[in-house]
Each structure stands twice: as C-alpha cells, then as structure tokens.
C-alpha cells in the first residue's frame, strides 16, 4: 500500500470515488508512515484514533453516495497553532503544554466538516516564531531531505510551519495546514520541496488560531501540487463573522484558471530583490523561472519596489509589538502553565519566565520596548508609516504587472545548528517573503529545482490582493515547466 502515500489530493479523491481503496486504508497507510518516521519529530501530538474515526465517517458517507467536499477522506496534518476541540493544542510552547481547547478554530472546523482526516498536530516553532523549526519546546523537526555528496548533516525544514512541511514532503500526510506571518508557510515549503500558499490577509479566518501578529497572521495550505493548494484553500477560505478582519467577500473558484496558461500575462521581476551576496544558485533558479514563464508566452518586465530593504526591519518592529500584546494573555491564570510566586505579580513573572522559550521572550521584550512610553513614535509609529510605503510600492507595481516573481528564500535548507547564534542572521531567511506579508498580499512558493547540493529551491510568486486565481494560474505554469519530480531519498 506504499503507493497510497504518494497520492495528491486529486489522486486520492479519484481513487476513493472509484473504490480503488477506502478512506480507512488511506488513513492507515499514512498512520503507518507517521509511525515509521517518528524520528523526524514532525508531530507534537499524533491522533491515529481520530484519523481512523474520521476515515470511517468518510467511508460511510461515500457508501451512501454522499460527499463532504473535495477533501473528503484525505489525511492531513494540522499545524499545532490551530485550536482543535478536545485535542491538545500547544503552539509549540511549554506554556500551553496542558491546553485542551473546548472549541474548534474556524479553519480546522471547515477542514473537519469537509471530511478531511486529521493525523495529528504538527510541530512548529514556538508561537510560530522562527525560520528553522528549532524553537519548539517539543524539539526540532528534521527535514527529510539531505544533501548529496556524502554530506549527511541533518537539515532544518524551515519554519515556522516545519512539521507541516516535513509531513507533506516525507509522505506522512497528503497535505497540511500552515500559518504564515512573515514567510512561515512559504519558506518551509521551499526548504522541503513542496507547494505553500499564503492567501491574502483576510481570506481565511484567524478565529481559533493562536495569535502571533494579528495584522500579519494568515492560514494557508501546504501540498505537493499547485492544484492541491487551490483545492485545499477552497475548503479553508471564506468569510467568518467571528473574525472582524475576515474579508466579507465571496470565495472564488481558485482553480478557475489553473490550466489557462500565462500567455499575455505580465510578470514583474523586482530589481531590489537582487540582494548583495545572493548565492549564484538562487539567482540562477530565479532567472530560470522567468525564462519558463517567458517561454509560455508571458511578458517578463523589470519592476522597482524601492522600500524592499526596509521590509524586514519594519517587520521586526510590527510583529514583536503585536506579539507582546497578544502573548500578554499567558499569565498562568486562565489556561496553561502556572508557576507559583510570593504574590500575583511574581506568579506572572515566574510563569512567563519558565513557560516561554528564548526566542519568544526576545520578541516580547522587543515588542514591549518599541511600544513603551518615549519610544512608541520612534519605532512603532515609524514602522507603521514605512509599512504604508511598502504597500504603496506593491500597489504601483500591480498597475503594470499581474504577478511578481522572486526567489522564496536566500538559500536552501541549512544544517541544524547553523545560523543559531545570531538572531538577525536567522531573520534574514525571510527577506524575500516578508514584504508581501507586510502588504497583506497572497503569495505562493513552488518547487523550482535543486541546489548544487541537491536540496530543493522554491520560486515565489506574489499576487494582487484577493487575486489568488491569477496567482495559482501562474504557479501552475511554473510547476508545469519545472517538472519537479525529485523526492527525499527513503521517503
């Protein structure tokens, strides 16, 4: 049954519909893969019994000629940032270690109602803060890819949705949910050789997702094909009155133009993304991506996004500021860890000192500082103004072009232990993904090829707000041209 773990969502649906296998058989094959690859540490909590129950319900529906939708019976991994009713939800943090939500997040609820089969809660950087999945209290996640040429060093899967990316790349799950604040879907997708789509801010409800930076956080699909990403987004998206920032717009058919090609479309290549010290292989794959689109009839033009280099510093004011506010709720009173103290204040301080890891403390303290009296205008207000300029750059660019092509990340997956001493070096991983986040734009990473070392490299497309239809249309053209069929050895 090993072929069952190689299926796409589309392939699984076809096999289930024609009776080639049952949802239970499909679930069991993935549960077996989850057990076999436990050493990757892709999951914080495995839910095999829940998966089988979900699968049985799916089989029962099919037996009656019913379907809950295009993901009915499809085994998925759920990033452990989504609150799931009755299933422990930790956000990768010690402080939420005992937390069992009595409610279901809107997006995980839609996937559940859509018949998907939940294999477990995927590992992630603590509170989604990280780019290598090394800040999880539950240990780092291993990327199933290793370099060629005898270099067997363990590679990071990227972050923060590292468990999700590893689960999909290692054929443990057909698809996974991710969340993206500054690149947390796209960068791990690039590092693990899969597709990761961050929708427009407001496309998917944030209700029930543990909050990191509320003006940036957005849920999205992580899959092995562009078509699957469109299908999964179809199930996840939609207006939700419980999230006031959820867009009150009708959900389009995201796959409407999937096979329409790119003839006549205009693709922008921003000159400011040619950063100093960019590795030659990143530049090469980027040029290759542009050539692929040109060969299929798109017009590729150079554009300018002048404030690109300020996006990352802006992000490291805005995101920590919002995080310091959001994470104030973890006080040892209502849920999670409590560490006693001599009085209430000391209980707060002890709880938060023990419950949060170093990266989370770092961001809470930066956020507290930039919001504090005397510094608010110089840092936070200034960053909000620069954010306006970043958005303006994109708005002007999209007057000329239909989508923007860049590399996803400045490198392939690095080895565990690298870039760990200097937080700023780690933050630079997100240099190409953060600008779209700041502007709330939809963006997708598609596998483009392999690095000189034999590790996956992603190509990144940025689209107009609420135009995921064109985004996946162009992404499909890249996927067709790249013909990426490499897979991690042994998976």
């Amino acid at each position: 049954m090993s072929g069952l773990t190689d299926l796409t969502i589309a392939g699984a649906r076809a096999g289930l519909d024609s009776g080639d296998f049952s949802a239970r058989e499909l679930a069991q094959a993935h549960i077996d893969a989850m057990a076999r690859h436990k050493a990757l540490n892709a999951f914080i909590t495995e839910t095999p019994e829940r998966a089988l129950a979900d699968a049985d319900a799916s089989d029962a529906r099919r037996a009656k000629g019913e379907s809950a939708g295009p993901m009915d019976g499809v085994p998925i991994a759920m990033k452990d940032l989504f609150c799931t009713e009755g299933v422990r939800s930790t956000a990768g943090s010690h402080i939420l270690e005992p937390f069992v939500p009595p409610y279901e997040s809107t997006v995980s609820g839609k996937l559940k109602a859509g018949g998907s089969v939940m294999l477990g809660k995927a590992n992630l950087d603590e509170f989604a803060m990280g780019s290598a999945n090394i800040t999880s209290y539950y240990g780092p996640v291993t990327n199933p890819w290793v370099a060629g040429g005898g270099d067997n060093r363990q590679r990071v899967p990227g972050g923060s949705s590292g468990g999700s990316a590893t689960a999909v790349a290692a054929r443990i799950a057909i698809a996974a949910t991710g969340t993206d604040t500054g690149g947390s879907i796209r960068q791990p997708a690039s590092f693990c050789g899969i597709v990761g789509l961050k929708p427009t801010y407001g496309r998917c409800s944030r209700w029930g997702i543990v909050a990191f930076a509320s003006s940036l956080d957005q849920a999205g699909p992580m899959t092995r094909t562009v078509e699957d990403a469109a299908t999964m987004l179809q199930v996840m998206a939609g207006h939700d009155p419980k999230d006031s920032t959820s867009a009150p717009y009708a959900t389009p058919n995201f796959a409407e133009k999937l096979r329409a090609g790119v003839k006549g479309l205009k693709i922008g290549v921003p000159k400011e993304y040619r950063v100093d010290g960019m590795p030659a292989e990143i530049d090469r794959i980027w040029h290759q991506g542009a050539d692929w689109l040109r060969a299929q009839g798109a017009e590729v033009v150079e554009i300018s996004l002048p404030h690109t280099k300020y996006a990352l510093p802006t992000y490291y004011i805005i995101a920590p500021a919002e995080a310091s506010s959001n994470l104030a709720r973890y006080d040892g009173v209502r849920y999670g860890l409590r560490v006693p103290g001599k009085d209430l204040k000391e209980m707060y301080e002890n709880t938060r000192a023990e419950g949060f890891g170093a990266e989370v403390k770092r961001r809470i303290m930066i956020g507290t500082y930039v919001l504090s009296a005397g510094y608010y205008d110089a840092y936070y207000l200034k960053a909000q103004k620069v954010r306006s300029l970043i958005l303006r750059d994109f708005t002007q660019a999209f007057e000329q072009v239909d989508a923007i092509l860049t590399p996803t990340a400045p490198s392939a997956a690095f080895a565990l232990g690298e870039k760990q001493d200097d937080p700023v070096q780690m933050y630079l991983n997100d240099v190409f993904t953060v600008p779209a986040s700041m502007a709330g734009l939809p963006a997708i990473s598609v596998p483009g090829g392999l690095s000189d070392e034999g590790l996956p490299l992603g190509l990144h497309l940025i689209g107009r707000p609420f135009d995921e239809v064109t985004l996946v249309q162009v992404a499909q053209a890249l996927e067709d041209a790249a013909g990426f069929s490499a897979r991690p050895a042994g998976y």
Binding site: S215, Y316, L337, R352, R362, Y379, K385, V424
Partner: protein
C-alpha cells in the same frame, strides 16, 4: 541604540518576565543587536505618510451589542491551572 541593563530590567518588568541580574547583560547585548538592525528605518523619509493601521480595504464590521453566546462557565474555565466553582483563582491580592 544600545540598551543598558537598567532598560532591560524595565522592559522585563513591563513584560512580566522574570530576568535575573546575571542574565541582564546577555539580554542587553542580544536586544541591542535587533534594535540596531531595525534602526535602518531612520534612513526612510516618512514626512506626510499616514501610518498603516490595518490591512483590509473594507471597514471593520459593526454588530448589535447583544449577548450571543455563553452560559457554560465550567467549559470556559476547564483549562484553568487552579479554579473553583466556575471561577479562576489567583494568589490573594487584597489584604
């Protein structure tokens, strides 16, 4: 700008995170590197630029000020580290 130990102590207090005296210098060095990095924004002229305070191009929705949910304190408090009778409990704050 470099943050000194007193500033770190003040921030840690505001953030309600216990930082011991022997950790202060390490945090000061660590946080200073990030603050120096974000100060690249000093180069940007933002005269006349409005701050971006929201992302959506639609107004925030309004709803009637009516209770629409509730009545299950036991469920709401089910994750409390300590609680009693449907309430959260904390160390004594009033003498």
């Amino acid at each position: 700008m470099a943050l000194d130990q007193a500033t770190v102590a003040r921030i840690a207090n505001l953030a309600r995170i216990k930082v011991t005296d022997d950790e202060l210098q390490a945090w000061a060095t660590d946080l200073s590197a990030i603050i120096t990095f974000v100060e690249h924004l000093d180069e940007v002229n933002v005269d006349g630029v409005e701050p971006m305070t929201g992302v959506g191009d639609f107004p925030l929705p309004l709803r009637a000020d009516k209770v629409s949910d509730g009545g299950y304190a036991d469920v709401v408090t089910s994750n409390a580290p300590e609680g009693a009778l449907g309430f959260y409990t904390v160390p004594k704050v009033v003498e």
